[in-house]
């Protein structure tokens, strides 16, 4: 749930801030070299592999309940453990490790799909506003401002109530809401690119507008686009988890990390690991995406825009 809207700042300033390397990036490099970027990438790849190979990795079916072995403890406990279930079982006896593994699928699916939808909306709006300017820019600015004025989390909850809670609805709602940063950044970068000499030359040569946008403008914005995409992906994953946690997201018995936290709440006294594990997975995934995004930002900027 990172921020974007900053009253009193122009969209250009916001765009600049999004793309600037964090003030720590130099320091971070001195400490870790480029390892943090690499670490982020490796963790993401590992979680991605886990999601893809879930049927092979997971020891059990994540939906299979077994009331005889409910709330088994994970392996580090002394009593009531089961070698069959290294991370124990939940309240209806489903294997927790398997549910965590399959949970990666949900988070990544939400992250990627939301990013694709919001990225498309934001890029179209932003590039149009930046390239055409004038009236188009005015209208797009108004749309962005309207979107920023909406309390996302609350409206997302209301939308889920309106259209019924399901994975599809959550993806669509988040996709339709999280495009603001894409639009702001794309608009600002396209404006800069529009006045580059070779873009002017292409226009003078009589190239068509679609050609100019795709062939001349787009290569300029793609770096920044990826940076924003990582930010929004992390954002979407956290929002889905929070929505599912409150019961306004993915529905049972889907193994979503946020929903698992919801289901585990009542067992907080005796089985705190039921809460600790899914949250730790979320934390790790978001941390990895952030590290990766930060590293990407350095690379994008080093190329020099």
């Amino acid at each position: 749930m990172t921020m974007i809207s900053t009253p009193g700042k122009s969209f250009d300033e916001i765009a600049q801030e999004t793309l600037e390397p964090s003030p720590f990036s130099k320091l971070r490099k001195r400490i870790f070299g480029n390892y943090s970027f690499l670490a982020g990438l490796i963790i993401i790849m590992a979680i991605f592999a886990m999601a893809l190979l879930a049927p092979l990795i997971a020891p059990h079916n994540p939906y299979e309940t077994d009331l005889a072995s409910r709330l088994m403890n994970p392996f580090w406990h002394e009593v009531k453990t089961d070698e069959e279930h290294p991370l124990g079982t939940d309240k209806v006896g489903r294997d927790y490790l398997s549910r965590l593994v399959y949970g990666a699928q949900i988070s990544l699916l939400i992250g990627f799909s939301t990013m694709l939808i919001s990225g498309t909306i934001g890029t179209v709006l932003g590039v149009a506003a930046g390239y055409f300017g004038g009236r188009v820019d005015m209208v797009v600015n108004f749309i962005i401002n309207t979107r920023l004025a909406m309390p996302v989390f609350l409206v997302a909850m209301a939308a889920v109530v309106a259209f019924g809670a399901s994975l599809m609805v959550v993806i669509l709602v988040l996709g339709l809401f999280l495009w603001d940063r894409f639009a702001v950044v794309m608009r600002s970068i396209t404006m800069q690119a529009r006045d580059l000499d070779y873009v002017k030359a292409a226009r003078a040569m009589g190239c068509s507008t679609p050609y100019i946008i795709v062939r001349e403008i787009f290569p300029n914005v793609i770096g920044s686009l990826t940076v924003v995409a990582t930010v929004e992906m992390a954002n979407a994953i956290l929002l889905e988890a929070a929505l599912s946690f409150l019961g306004f997201g993915v529905q049972a018995p889907t193994p979503s990390w946020g929903l698992m936290l919801n289901e585990a709440r009542e067992y907080m006294f005796f089985s705190p690991w039921l809460l600790a594990l899914p949250g730790a997975c979320l934390f790790l995934l978001v941390l990895a995406i952030n590290l990766f995004g930060d590293g990407l930002r350095d690379v994008t900027l080093e190329k020099g825009r």
């Binding site: 003030p23 401002n145 920023l148 309390p151 609350l154 936290l261 600790a276």
Partner: protein, 305 residues
């Protein structure tokens, strides 16, 4: 300047109309209000009677105009579920949410400013590295999971703090930390960056050359200037905290506006949801407008652009 102010105010007003219209139609899609009022067992005739009594059978834009007209005078109608006036319900709870927001932002400032200052004084030192860790991890930590972990450790294991309700100051400690820590990375980065910039400036060198004590230079000359943007950012974060309060208030059963909106969504209590969305949106729009006007007043070039 006047023309600019009028133009901006008009745009702000237009945004509010669009946002409220969207919310209104969305919430009317979400549930049949007549059914909500009548209850599950009501007969078809009863539901029809309620529909006519409340005017739900009229076209939606007429209902919207009527609602918006009354909302402008601060009248948001009655809660379907509690039968109370929505304005009274909100007035009774807004204090809790505001206190939580203020406490959380104070907590964030108390942590982030000293940490940022010390980090800036000795770049690359142990403290600086610690600050970096706090920032990187803080940004990836899901707020609601952090809150749950705190409840387990501080509330359940050690029994230091109450875990639910809002009867005493102790009930605010964990919610404040959970909501406040999320703002610390951003505020600390800004403090650190600002301090490093100010400490390298000419007037600090002059102050040092005059033989002023390092403490005076640091606090009276440097921090004073570096802190202005931090305070501005803190004001912005205050707005985000209102959004974040939905999850936090629900977890801690702290009965403010965030909790109220969760409760209202669960019960399809539309008037309450609409009122809260409109209040959040208005707050954002007014803040943005005020900031824009102040900026334009400080820098007249903006109003001509």
């Amino acid at each position: 300047m006047l023309a600019y102010a009028i133009k901006r105010s008009f745009a702000a007003f237009l945004i509010l109309i669009v946002v409220s219209g969207l919310t209104f139609s969305l919430s009317h899609l979400s549930a049949d209000p007549a059914l909500t009022i009548a209850g599950e067992q009501a007969s078809d005739e009863d539901i029809q009677a309620i529909r006519e009594l409340y005017g739900f059978d009229r076209p939606i834009y007429i209902q919207y105009l009527e609602w918006a007209g009354r909302a402008m005078t601060g009248d948001f109608g009655e809660s379907y579920h509690y039968g109370e006036r929505v304005s009274t319900m909100i007035a009774g709870r807004i204090g809790t949410t505001m206190s939580l927001g203020v406490l959380a932002i104070l907590f964030a400032l108390i942590i982030s400013i000293p940490l940022g200052v010390v980090a800036a004084m000795r770049p690359n030192s142990l403290v600086d590295r610690f600050a970096l860790l706090v920032a990187v991890f803080g940004q990836a930590l899901p707020t609601f999971w952090f809150a749950l972990m705190m409840i387990i450790v501080l509330g359940v294991w050690w029994r230091w703090l109450p875990i639910s309700g809002n009867d005493s100051w102790a009930h605010f400690v964990m919610p404040t930390i959970a909501l406040g820590y999320y703002a610390t990375p951003a505020l600390m980065r800004l403090t650190r960056a600002g301090m490093i910039e100010v400490l390298g400036s000419d007037y600090i060198r002059t102050a040092r050359a005059k033989g002023l004590s390092p403490t005076v230079v640091l606090f009276k000359h440097a921090l004073r200037n570096a802190i202005i943007p931090v305070v501005a950012l803190a004001a912005v974060w205050f707005g985000f905290m209102l959004g974040g309060s939905i999850v936090i208030e629900t977890i801690f059963n702290l009965k403010g506006i965030g909790w109220l909106s969760y409760d209202a969504l669960l019960r399809s209590d539309l008037p309450v949801v609409q009122a809260i969305v409109l209040i959040f949106a208005s707050l954002y729009v007014v803040l943005t407008l005020a900031a824009d006007l102040v900026n334009a007043w400080l820098d007249p070039r903006i109003s001509v652009r």
